[in-house]
Symmetry: C3
């Protein structure tokens, strides 16, 4: 009897820990990319992970670190920018998971900041074998919310927890 | 002795699961409404749930789905919009709960997006008898943060966990 | 055997409760400061807690409450403002903790709202002896994200969970 209750508690707690680890990973993206910490941003992805953002397809950590070090991104940081991600909705399927959130990019202007982008973000993640408990991004797809079907279906798949 | 510790753990875990279910429900609103998924948006509410947003009072799921399908909302989606909700503060009282969060509405403009609204959001939720563990919105009140006492008292009641 | 499993569960759950208490505290800041609730805002800090925000250094709860009651802040509230904080990344070290999040300040304008600020927020918190389970802010440092090294190092220290 107690054995079953213990096992149930362990399973429920593990599920929350998994979801929270993924929420935390996603919440780290904005601060790390705004700080320009290229290695730490890239380490959020699996070694062969993909970041597909509108016109830019990055494959592997070297590509992602290169984006952070790129002239375009460094100019954003120097001017002042906030990559602001909202609370993620996470669905765990064993060692795979899907998450979705909104994002906005604020860029410093003469007075205050302007809202340069508004985006839908879809994440497919997996549980890495090492270190235990670590989740990594397999694929992140980010699309501008501009009325396109593409961005809208990202949101629907993300909330439904569908792996693409 | 172990019986008491098990019961305490179960109760503490249940509380976190309840709060997280409500946080997730609220985090789903933006992606679902920006995707235009009228049925899924409406299903966040109880069958007779109310959505009271400034000049618009919706009563029941059909009203809420009709808002998503309305010309005004479809035009927002076609232009490109982000209903961005912040992290919710949740207070559970047994089978009832109160939550509060900020929100902003970004609408695509010629260059970038403009911030069309900034709002205070108050939620009264209840635990549905079926399916087990599901929470639903009984009443959501959203007010523009424009200096009015109305919007400010929503925030105070929401943080205090007061049911209106 | 069961003793060890119970103790492990209690410890894992306590960690989540601590992190969630801190996430909630941070999520309360925006609604409370936009409502103008000076006492409740100040009570988020330890009695001698510090709030260091760009050009303004507040030391102790009386200073923080005075900021909320100040003419500058009251004018923001009367015009309509949203202090919007994103999801916090929290790292607990026993009775001390570090958290970091992005923030933006929206201020009502002729049409819609303008983005007056975009900031990096670093929090050092401690577990108060009374009431049990309550966390308080020892020091909050907020810096405009304007390309300065100062703001960027706040983000890096916050994500790394480094106490300053």
């Amino acid at each position: 009897m107690n054995e079953q209750r213990l096992a149930d508690l362990e399973q429920r707690l593990q599920r929350i820990e998994d979801e929270r680890a993924i929420e935390r990973l996603i919440a780290c993206y904005g601060p790390l990319v705004d700080a320009g910490d290229a290695e730490s941003v890239a380490a959020l992805w699996r070694a062969d992970g993909v970041y597909d953002v509108d016109e830019w397809l990055m494959a592997g950590r070297a590509d992602i670190a290169a984006m952070v070090r790129s002239r375009g991104h460094q100019e954003l940081i120097d001017r002042g920018c906030v990559h602001f991600l909202g609370p993620a909705v996470v669905t765990v399927h064993g060692d795979e998971a899907v998450a979705v959130c909104d994002s906005t990019l604020l860029v410093r202007a003469e007075t205050g900041y302007r809202v340069a982008r508004g985006g839908a973000n879809y994440f497919h993640l997996h549980r890495a074998p090492e270190p235990p408990g670590q989740w990594q991004i397999v694929k992140r797809i980010t699309r501008r919310l501009d009325g396109s079907i593409d961005a809208r279906s990202l949101l629907v798949d993300g909330i439904a927890g569908r792996i693409r």
